[in-house]
């Protein structure tokens, strides 16, 4: 007869099988990792929070069993956003020694690269502004989806996104490289 520990260690994960998890991970990990990298600006933090995000999903599989892939994606972004906020509240905002460099990739648009330092722009914004801009512009989420992914009120999302966008646009304006 297996012990209670062995039973607990092997059976609860059957709701989300390893194969299903790997598919889910392949479909969402890159997006969430980039999001975490852009908001935290630290590779180690992004790696850790990404693992923690999916860990929480694995530890509570029943609460997500009824979600469709889109809802699950928003749910994952919600976990990641909450983890980022927890980290920010804890005061661990030490800049990473080797932040993500956007200008080294050959696919980068040279004209944009010359005029906009996106990384500097993101660093100058508040974490919440970074989150909102990223979810709206990179992930292509609408207000309702952003509200679901961040836990903010939908009307607040509209206002906060408007403000964040205005701050970001100052970088787009020629001759105004800083906020």
């Amino acid at each position: 007869m297996p012990s209670s520990l062995e039973h607990a260690a092997t059976h609860p994960a059957t709701v989300l099988s390893e194969l299903a998890f790997q598919r889910l991970y392949e479909a969402n990990s890159t997006n969430i990792h980039s999001y975490l990298l852009a908001v935290s600006n630290r590779r180690d933090v992004a790696d850790d929070l990404l693992q923690e995000t999916f860990c929480r999903l694995l530890l509570h599989p029943k609460s997500t069993a009824h979600l469709n892939p889109l809802e699950l994606r928003r749910y994952l972004f919600r976990i990641a956003t909450n983890l980022l906020r927890d980290r920010h509240r804890s005061g661990d905002t030490t800049p990473y020694a080797d932040p993500p460099e956007p200008s080294t990739h050959p696919a980068l648009d040279a004209s944009l690269n010359n005029s906009i330092d996106i990384r500097a722009m993101l660093q100058a914004l508040k974490p919440r502004d970074r989150e909102l801009l990223w979810l709206a512009y990179v992930e292509g989420m609408d207000h309702a989806e952003i509200s679901s992914a961040t836990g903010l009120n939908r009307l607040s999302v509209r206002t906060l996104l408007f403000r964040a966008r205005n701050k970001a646009k100052q970088f787009l304006a020629p001759g105004s490289p800083s906020l």
Partner: protein, 134 residues
């Protein structure tokens, strides 16, 4: 990365439409710049392998299971320590070389209740250890 391009025509509904919020060329520039940055990030920084997360979740699950299993033990250990401390204090007080008052009925009832609680807890733990899959 989500590469689906949503319409960005200038005549599209504004931020209050709830569908899409980027309507002018400046928004397009910002979106393009952010997406290019996102593409660069995802190309330069690959996420950790899924196996690492499965391993971490498994380790966490085991730790939680151990904590769950040890919780009654911890409670009973605390109660036992408290009871032993009270009993020692009472014994010291009882056998001290001076005239001692006897226990009043309330204190005696409390001591009996504590003893019963500890013995019941020990019995429950003994039963639980005999049936680990329960």
């Amino acid at each position: 990365m989500n590469t689906t391009n949503k319409p960005t025509n200038p005549g599209a509904p504004g931020p209050d439409s709830g569908t899409w919020v980027h309507t002018n060329p400046t928004d397009d520039n910002l979106r393009r710049a952010l997406r290019t940055y996102a593409a660069t990030l995802s190309a330069d920084h690959t996420p950790p392998p899924a196996a690492a997360i499965l391993f971490r979740a498994e380790r966490r699950r085991r730790r939680l299971a151990i904590q769950r299993a040890e919780r009654p033990l911890l409670i009973m250990q605390t109660l036992g320590t408290l009871f032993a401390f009270c009993a020692a204090a009472w014994l010291l007080y009882r056998f001290a070389p001076h005239t001692l008052p006897t226990l009043n009925p309330t204190t005696l009832e409390l001591a009996i209740a504590c003893t019963a609680l500890v013995l019941t807890g020990c019995w429950a733990m003994l039963q639980a250890s005999r049936n680990p899959s329960a």
